[in-house]
Structures are given as structure tokens and as C-alpha cells.
């Protein structure tokens, strides 16, 4: 990692439970973006990700933000929460965004923005990871479907069934009994997706859903979640080209511009 004394160049890094994203920005735009898994060594993974990247100051966000600041004392690091990072990042990928949804590896965040882009209200899931990426990953493994194609798999269902449990352990037993009753794995997968979407929609409704809604985080790659969410909310859901990067982009923007007005 080479640090250059160019204050117009800022790096944002989002250290999540599943993955780490890095972007480098200057006032002209994005200079660099990269991503790796968090694995069991977040600091080492950050170091590898930063290797050869030229950035000035760093803004860290995500659950590993403090760890990052403490581990890289030789570079200038500030920290902001994921809430602020996603609020800023969402406005970058969609300048009119009014609501932000982020479903990550272990938490779900919903943010309602003011017209100026300020965080007006936010909600996060509580300590349990029910209804987050972790839940989908767990259930995909239980149904022996690769996580990347789990959404497409669910979309092949021929009818919709309800799965009531959002706890991974209970949901697995519910899925097992449904399978024993002859239900197809595609339909069970659909039921699990519906459960997540209902839970997420309830959270969104608590903060109020104004359009446009930006859907960020790893779970935004899942086409079934997006489709069901649009049905449930009765409005379009905007998924940015690289939904995982929104937090890191927001962090870098914070470094470039400071907070939103």
C-alpha cells in the first residue's frame, strides 16, 4: 500500500461479515474498485486487498471499521457507520434515492433519507441474523443449492407455500417436514425467500418507503428477493450495478465531501 499525499484521492473500505470492498475515488470519479471475502482474517484480507492500491486517506465502515483503524495506524483512517455510508453511497448510484435497503451477511438496514440526502430514520435487525444473507446461505446449503443460483432456483417454483419460521434452525426443520410431505425444493426455496421479503418489507414500512428505493448489499444479487420485494411493495426496486460496493463508495464519498448537507 502506497500512501500518496493527494488529498483529492480518498479510499473507502467496507469491512462486512462476509466480504470486504474497497474503492478509490477522486473528484473525477471512481479510480478503483475491488472486493474479497472476509474469511477468518479480516485484517490480512484488507492488507491483501490494499496491496498496490494508491489511495490517500481511508474511511472505514462496516462492522470491522474499528479493527481497521486500530490495525493500520500508519495511514490516516476515519470511521463512519454503515448507516451513513449506505446513505451516501445510495445517493451516488441513484441521486434521487429516498429509501435505502441493505441486506448484508449478518444484518439488514433500512434507511429513510431526507430530500437533501440526510439520514432521517433508520432501522436495523436485532442481534439475530434471521432474514439476512446468512439465513439464505444457510438454507441454500440445507437444500444443496449453490448460494449464487439460489434465487433463480426459487423462481422455478410452481406454487407458493408459506414458511413461518425465520430462525434458521426452525426453518430448516420446517423445510424438512415440507420435503417429507412431498413439497418440491423449488417451492420450499420460494417460501424461504417470501419469508425474508415479508420481514424486510415490514421493516421498510416502519421507516416509510418513498421512491426511489435503492437495494444494496450482497443479497441484492438475488433476483427472487428483488422480484418478491417489488411485488410486496408495489413499486420498482433499484439495484445498482455493483450492489456490494455501495457502502465502500459511501465511505469514500464521505472522505471526499464530508457529510451530506
Amino acid at each position: 500500500m502506497k500512501s500518496v499525499l493527494n488529498h483529492d484521492t480518498v479510499a473507502g473500505i467496507d469491512i462486512g461479515s462476509r466480504s470486504i470492498e474497497l474503492v478509490v475515488l477522486n473528484p473525477d470519479g471512481l479510480l478503483h474498485r475491488s472486493k474479497t471475502s472476509t474469511a477468518f482474517d479480516p485484517v490480512g484480507q484488507c492488507r491483501r486487498l490494499m496491496d498496490g492500491v494508491i489511495g490517500g486517506r481511508f474511511i472505514a465502515t462496516g462492522y470491522g471499521r474499528r479493527l481497521f483503524a486500530e490495525s493500520f495506524r500508519d495511514i490516516e483512517v476515519s470511521v463512519i457507520t454503515e448507516i451513513q455510508a449506505y446513505a451516501l453511497g445510495a445517493r451516488f448510484v441513484c441521486p434521487e434515492a429516498m429509501t435505502v435497503l441493505d441486506i448484508g451477511g449478518q444484518d439488514t438496514k433500512v434507511i429513510s433519507l431526507s430530500g437533501a440526502g440526510k439520514v432521517r430514520k433508520f432501522e436495523m435487525n436485532d442481534r439475530c441474523a434471521a432474514g439476512t444473507g446468512k439465513f439464505l446461505e444457510f438454507m441454500a446449503t440445507a437444500l444443496q443449492v449453490p448460494l449464487e443460483s439460489f434465487g433463480d432456483f426459487a423462481l422455478r417454483s410452481d406454487h407458493r407455500i408459506r414458511i413461518n419460521s425465520m430462525c434458521a434452525v426452525f426453518a430448516e426443520s420446517e423445510a424438512t417436514s415440507l420435503m417429507a410431505g412431498g413439497e418440491s425444493p423449488e417451492n420450499i426455496a420460494m417460501g424461504l425467500h417470501m419469508g425474508i421479503v415479508q420481514r424486510t418489507a415490514a421493516m421498510l414500512k416502519r421507516v416509510g418507503v418513498s421512491a426511489p428505493l435503492v437495494f444494496a448489499g450482497g443479497v441484492a444479487h438475488n433476483p427472487c428477493v428483488v422480484k418478491l420485494l417489488e411485488e410486496e411493495l408495489g413499486q420498482a426496486v433499484m439495484v445498482p450495478e455493483d450492489p456490494d460496493m455501495v457502502g465502500a463508495i459511501g465511505a469514500a464519498l464521505y472522505g471526499l465531501n464530508g457529510r451530506v448537507p
Partner: protein, 424 residues
Amino acid sequence: MAGSYDEMWEKLNLDVEAHTGLLEVLGKFYGDIYMSQQGRLRGMEYLDFVLSEVHGLRIKELQDAKAQGKKVFGTFCVFVPEEIVLAAGGVQVGLCAGAEIGTSEAEKVLPRNTCALIKSFVGFKLGRLCPFIESCDMIVGETTCDGKKKAYEIFSEYSPVYVMEIPQMKNPADRELWRNEVMRFKNAVEDTTGNKISAESLKDAIHLTNERRRVLQRLNRLRAAVPVPISGRDVLLINQVSFYDDPVRFTAKIGELCDELEDRVKSGEGVAPKNTTRLMMSGCPMAVPNWKLPYIIESSGAIVVGEESCIGTRNTRDLIDENAKTFDSIIDAIVDRYMKIDCACFTPNTERLDNIVRMARDLKVQGVVHYGLSFCQPYAIEAFKVERALRSAGIPMLSIETDYSMEDVEQLKTRVEAFVEMTK
């Protein structure tokens, strides 16, 4: 302090080994949260001392009082009128309910989805870990919420429990009920202590508790200064200690602390920079050693300047009228003061909404953190109305629901930090 009180603890039938472990954990926790603070008042040394002797010297004082024939009354709620106990020459102490301890013991007799406060006092009892509970001649329960109400039935199988019925509305009939309950309690306290309560002894007791309320009101006025001269954690601790320290000594010591605070305010000295985000906490009580949320808030670039809570202003806001002369009118004054308590167990409870908004404005806070213990329905449900009332006053609120465990600290930090970012 370990060692010197072992004999006393054994006599109280504590599980001495587990209790020593508890004190070690408590000491470390206190060190991390309290002793690490910069620029604390000299007067806080008294609180440090009281806390380091919480299960030692204070228990010895209670034992000495008992040896002289005094009776000890333990409580869990600001509704229990301490004036009655004091007027009968008794000692009243708030009981341990703020630690995650004896949970597995408590869960043998209570459902898992019971609030942490109830589990804690049952756990303290079943685990034989609280010398206060073991020192009590009477434990006074109350019918504030269903959880406590039913838990006291179980608790009474292990300790001498007396339950006061708390009205749930504020109609004339409810006041009548409460007056009868105060009189019934008076008789029970007289029976237990063997002492008659007179108008004179009640007046003295009222003066004593009012003085303690006044000194805490003074503390609350002084701490509201800009820059903030004392941490919210320290003020919470003072409020917590007010429930079990000797009232005369406590009032004198906090008076001295307030003098020091006054000098600090005059010289414009603070424990945090002027522009630090000012927040207020509102909701469920935080009993010793429940310092989790204020610690998280004050580690996230904000400072707590008010506690709208039973261990806070709900306990100190209203004084008892000291002008009543006859026995009956003094009892009426006590009854009227306690009927002003704006606990979420009442319906409707609009006074609380007004009090919160007024307090938030007076303290010039940038936000309110509403604290609900998991499974505490009255406060959890009322949080919705509190948020709406604050929102219409232009004050943002963050609703936190948690318990005594540390597993969600990181998630809470993210929420609190994001809330602080929002207020800037």
C-alpha cells in the same frame, strides 16, 4: 475487601465462592467503565468507595442496624413509600436486579422470555448471591407489571414477600385504592418493626426523603450545563446508589459533590467538548451494574444529560408536600405524590409523554435514546407514542431493546453511532 467479610457472607448463607467471583467481575467491569474516565469530580471518590463496599461495609451497617433491633425492607420499585419505613425506624434498600447472574437458576422457575430485571432478582436469590436480599426482614413487591406480579408469587417461596397493589389508572377510585394500600403497608411495617408511626415521625421521614430528592434535582440542574460537567454514567451511578446508601450520609455527600460541580460549571469546565452531542435516555430502569447503554452512548461521541427513568427523574422529580399537619393529611400528601409517578404500567400515561418532551427541551438534547428491556411490554409498546411525541417536537429518537448480556454490544454501537451521526 475480599476476606474480611467472608464470615458475614457465610452467616447470610451466601454461596461465598460464586459471590467472590461476582465481585471480581463487578470490580473489573467498574474499572473499565468508570475508572477509565478522564476529569472526574473528586466527589465521585465517595461513589467509588460505596460501590467497592457495596456488598461489604453497607451490609455490615445493615447487620449492625439489625443487631440494634431495626428492620430492613427491600424493594424493587419507586412506588414503595420509603417514608413509611423510615417513620417506623426501618431501613429501606433497593435490591440487586441489574446483573446477568444466576440465569440458569432463574430459568428453572421462570420462562426464558422473562425480562432481565426479573430474572436477575430471582437469580440473585436462588444463586444465594445478594447479601441485601438475605438481610431483608421484608421484601416489598408491587403489581407494576404482570412479570413482576407473578414472579413475586414464586419469590415468596424463598423470602418473606409483601406485595403492594399499584393502581393502573388515575381515576378517583384508583387514588382510593392506593391510599388503602399505603395504609395497609403502614400497618404491615408497624407490625414488622413493632414501632408505631406518628405524624411527627412521618414528617421527619418526609423531610429526609425530600432532601435527598432535592439534592438529586440540584445535581440534574447542574449537569445540564454546557459544556457538560459530569458524565451521564456518573450521574446514573449516583442515582443507583441513592437506593441503598444511608439517606442522610448520601444527601450530605452528594451536596458536597454538587458544590464542586457548581465551581466547575462556573469556570466553564466540562468532561466533553462543548459541541458534543447531548442525548437523554428514557425508559426502563437501569439497576447496578447495568451501565451498558450509557457506556455505549458515551463511547460513541455523545454524552448523556438526563435519565427519564425510575433510576433517574421518575424517582426525584416530585416532592411530598411538607405543609400537611395531621396524620391523615400527611398520608394524603404521600398518596398524592406517589400517584404522580408516570410509570408505563398506567393507562393512559400521557403525563409521561409530556414529561419526556419537556425534559428533552429543557436539557436541550439533540436526541433521545429509548431503552426497553427485552420482554418489557409496557415500555416497549409505549415507545411508539414516545417517538411520535418527540418527533412532533422535532427531536429524533432511537429505540433500543436489549438486556444485560454483552453479545449485542457491537450492533448497539453501530446504531448509537449512526444516531449520533444523524444528530450532527
